[in-house]
């Protein structure tokens, strides 16, 4: 965003960035806020220079009103910068390359039959673990090792005359990914696992792993907190939500906005009192650590403490949290 705002991107990257903004809610909102700011600043009116300044200057310079120079408007119309380059909309649609970790991608590896001559070095692109591949048969080894599981087989023969057949199938393979908890790939992978119910099971193991690895302040990452907040909001199973809120409480970055919002929502409306209790405890911990809770969190605690039909323990814990708050 800074580079785009200050026109530091080359045309191609500027184009790509605009395309991304169109598709990304968070970036779109931020960009629109910048645009609105720029427009709001328009409201600062041009102020007229008092005539006495001209008189004083001309007197100091020792020049009078020269013949032919009429008292011109004191406000010189300056040339505004033409509509900001970054406000101009891109015309062409370019497929956004690179990007998400799990974007499907078609690759057609070209295998050279003659020795390759390296003309230039390009950076090695990271592997995507959820690739969709389209490959020639002669690119695959004829040896099939390990008896992989194959499913959803499709046989496609779009042109019977071309002597080519096409097989599409899903195949399972086992990946072992090693890395530092702070590696972005590791963070993304774990966040995806936390959030994607159908992609992996059992989830409870991932939650425990995340709690173990990310309780260390050195490994703190807001994406993990965001993923846990999503689990807390969306999972239909109480035990999973309880684990998620418990894990959130132990993360060093628990005071980020998505986490706080998820805790507030859980406190307001989770049907299970244990989840609401843990959400209060998490907010209380934040208050005790000296974090400033925003007005919404404070109001939610206040409402909960006053709510006659709420579990009494939850009410008492909410009141206790309020004692430690510095608004």
């Amino acid at each position: 965003m800074p580079l785009l705002l200050t026109e530091s991107l080359d045309p191609a990257r500027r184009e790509l960035t605009h395309q991304h903004i169109e598709g990304c809610v968070a970036c779109s909102e931020e960009w629109n806020a910048y645009k609105e700011t720029w427009l709001v600043m328009e409201d600062l009116p041009v102020v007229e220079v008092p005539a006495r300044v001209r008189e004083r200057f001309l007197a100091a310079a020792g020049v009078g009103e020269a013949a032919g120079s009429q008292p011109a408007s004191n406000v010189v119309a300056f040339h505004r910068r033409p509509a900001l380059k970054w406000l101009a909309q891109a015309a062409a649609v370019i497929v956004l390359a690179g990007g998400g970790y799990f974007a499907g991608r078609e690759t057609t590896p070209q295998f050279q039959r003659t020795p390759a001559i390296v003309n230039s070095m390009s950076p090695i692109k990271p592997l995507s673990i959820a690739e969709t591949r389209v490959v020639d048969a002669n690119a695959i080894s004829p040896e099939i090792e390990g008896r992989p599981n194959i499913a959803n087989v499709q046989f496609i023969d779009s042109d019977p005359t071309d002597n080519q057949i096409r097989l599409a199938f899903d195949i399972t393979s086992r990946w072992t990914v090693t890395g530092n908890p702070k590696d972005k790939s590791m963070v993304r992978l774990l966040s995806y696992m936390l959030e994607s119910e159908s992609a992996i099971s059992p989830r409870s193991t991932t939650l425990d792993l995340v709690r173990q690895a990310y309780s260390n302040p050195a490994n703190a990452d807001p994406e993990i907190a965001t993923a846990l907040a999503k689990v807390l909001r969306n999972d239909e199973h109480e035990g999973v939500r309880i684990r998620a809120v418990d894990t959130l409480t132990n993360l060093p970055v628990a005071s980020t906005s998505p986490t706080r919002d998820a805790l507030i929502d859980a406190l307001k409306s989770d049907p299970n009192p244990a989840v609401r209790l843990k959400a209060v405890e998490a907010l209380a911990n934040l208050a005790q650590r000296g974090e400033t809770l925003d007005p919404e969190a404070v109001n939610t605690l206040r409402q909960k403490a006053s709510q006659n039909d709420e579990n009494l323990y939850v009410r008492m814990k909410a009141a206790e949290a309020l004692k430690n708050i510095k608004p």
Partner: protein, 193 residues
């Protein structure tokens, strides 16, 4: 004189003839005054700045090189003057003017609209004052004077990269103050390669 370019006028001045002074003043005083006023938020200081800048223009005319833009040079002098003004301790201690939003005189706008305009103006002025002097200088020159980053870098005496950083930081602060945080609060961490 009106048909002569800035370079032509300055050549005359450099020759010792100050007759183009009023023409140059008429061309640029509005921009210089508005920049100084928005920067210092003080009308009296802005008047002094404007007068001083054009006096210096005459006094140091020989330092102006014809290949540069006159506006850039004038803004350079103005920015230096404003910075010196702020640096002086007694100027810092002066109470900045409080602006009373009075009920507007009848205008083409409905009273509500005029008051709203004045309120917006107030907000923007306050928001600009919340910036550091460097950021304020950069955003005023960029947003209101239409100067390029290269020109602003020359005026501010720093690199173009530093100017861009100041502009961006200023926009961040102004966005928060004038528009508020974008809703949702989710951050996008996608990097476009």
């Amino acid at each position: 004189m009106k048909h002569l370019s800035d370079q032509d006028l300055m050549r005359i001045v450099q020759g010792g003839d100050y007759s183009p002074a009023s023409e140059i003043y008429d061309r640029y005083s509005g921009r210089i005054y508005n920049f100084a006023f928005r920067f210092l938020k003080n009308a009296e200081a802005a008047e002094d700045a404007t007068q001083e800048v054009f006096v210096k223009m005459l006094r140091y005319a020989n330092q102006f090189h014809g290949d540069a833009k006159l506006s850039t040079w004038l803004f350079s002098i103005t920015a230096n003057w404003c910075r010196d003004y702020l640096r002086k301790a007694d100027n810092k201690a002066k109470e900045p003017e409080e602006v009373l939003i009075a009920l507007p005189a009848p205008s083409e706008y409905a009273p509500d609209r005029a008051l709203e305009q004045r309120e917006n103006e107030q907000r923007i002025r306050r928001a600009l004052q919340a910036l550091t002097p460097e950021q304020r200088e950069a955003i005023l020159l960029s947003r209101y004077q239409g100067l390029s980053y290269a020109e602003i870098a020359q005026i501010a005496g720093c690199s173009e990269g530093a100017v861009k950083t100041r502009v961006f930081r200023a926009m961040e602060t102004l966005k928060k103050t004038l528009v508020g945080e974008a809703s949702g609060g989710d951050r996008c961490l996608t990097v476009v390669p």
